[in-house]
Amino acid sequence: MSDGHHGSGSANAPIAARVRRFEERLSAAGLVDDAELDAILDRFLAGASPLNGARIVARAWTDAGFRDRLLADANAALPEVGLSMRSGLQEQRLKVVANTAARHNVIVCTLCSCYPIGLLGPSPSWYKSEAYRSRVVRDPRAVLAEFGLRLPPEVDITVWDSSAESRYMVLPVRPAGTNDLTEAELAGLVTREGLIGTAAR
């Protein structure tokens, strides 16, 4: 692996000390200030949650025009639901990929752990594991089955490796029998795993 800079660990105290020292160096060099960092962290901690992704999905399920705009240019469509990809210092490009009856999509970052944190919250630990990152690109059907998602053989699979500056989110298929549900109720059907593609929704 050429880039493991987002790796997880259980011994957090030494990491926290190193991060703090790094912040001090950046601040001393005039590259950032504490208020700026605090504002970014607040946005992440207060706003970053899979509920954001679920709201986007529910809107796309109920508004065909929004769905089209979302798939064509997600960054331009997000303000319609009060969201953006500007949770960090600069806006990140988002690509939303839609599942259909014939094709299933699943997201990975094989080089490190790139993930749309602002929309989905912190990534699950398995997303950062070498097992998931190395295996899902090679045998996604088997990996998805281990998550409990057994796709019929006729359903094609696309694995999206977030190896550059774009972040990805899956738009699941709206389940049958949900015509009577409100947009908020539909959002309640969507899970973080569905937004990554390791669950049907």
């Binding site: 050429s2 690509k95 080089l111 090679r138 094609d156 694995v159 550059a164």
Partner: protein
């Protein structure tokens, strides 16, 4: 060690009077060499420094799906370049069988232009083995 990006185009000259991206490779002057549908091959280079070409696609043929925009080349940034090369990033789709010799899925990988070259033409008599 393979030399970095042996065939990338010359850096554009500084535009008269400056202007967006003049002489710094910041986007405006950089021509996208590929369009969706183009077949490309990923350079099989193995640099000492950081890069963002996943090892499993090096030397493999894929198809450009989308031009995403332009971003600084990570290889330049990792080496502390004062004005990193800024160039198009593509979504490139690979067939599992091309990457692993088996599998019916596809994998898309996001790759900077310097990581790519036009794929050699497919010979008709070998096409079924390559596609």
């Amino acid at each position: 060690m393979a030399r970095l990006m042996p065939s990338r185009p010359a850096r554009p000259a500084t535009a008269p009077g400056g202007g967006p991206g003049a002489g710094t490779g910041t986007g405006a002057d950089i021509v996208a060499l590929f369009v969706p549908g183009d077949r490309v091959i990923t350079r099989a280079y193995d640099p000492d420094h950081h890069t963002r070409v996943p090892r499993y696609v090096r030397g493999h043929v894929g198809e450009v799906v989308e031009v995403q925009g332009t971003w600084p080349l990570p290889d330049d940034r990792a080496q502390g370049a004062a004005a990193p090369w800024v160039e198009p990033v593509y979504t490139v789709r690979f067939a599992a069988a091309e990457l692993w010799g088996t599998g019916d899925h596809e994998v898309t990988v996001d790759l900077w232009q310097s990581y790519l070259a036009p794929a050699p033409p497919v010979r008709a008599d070998t096409e079924e083995h390559l596609s």
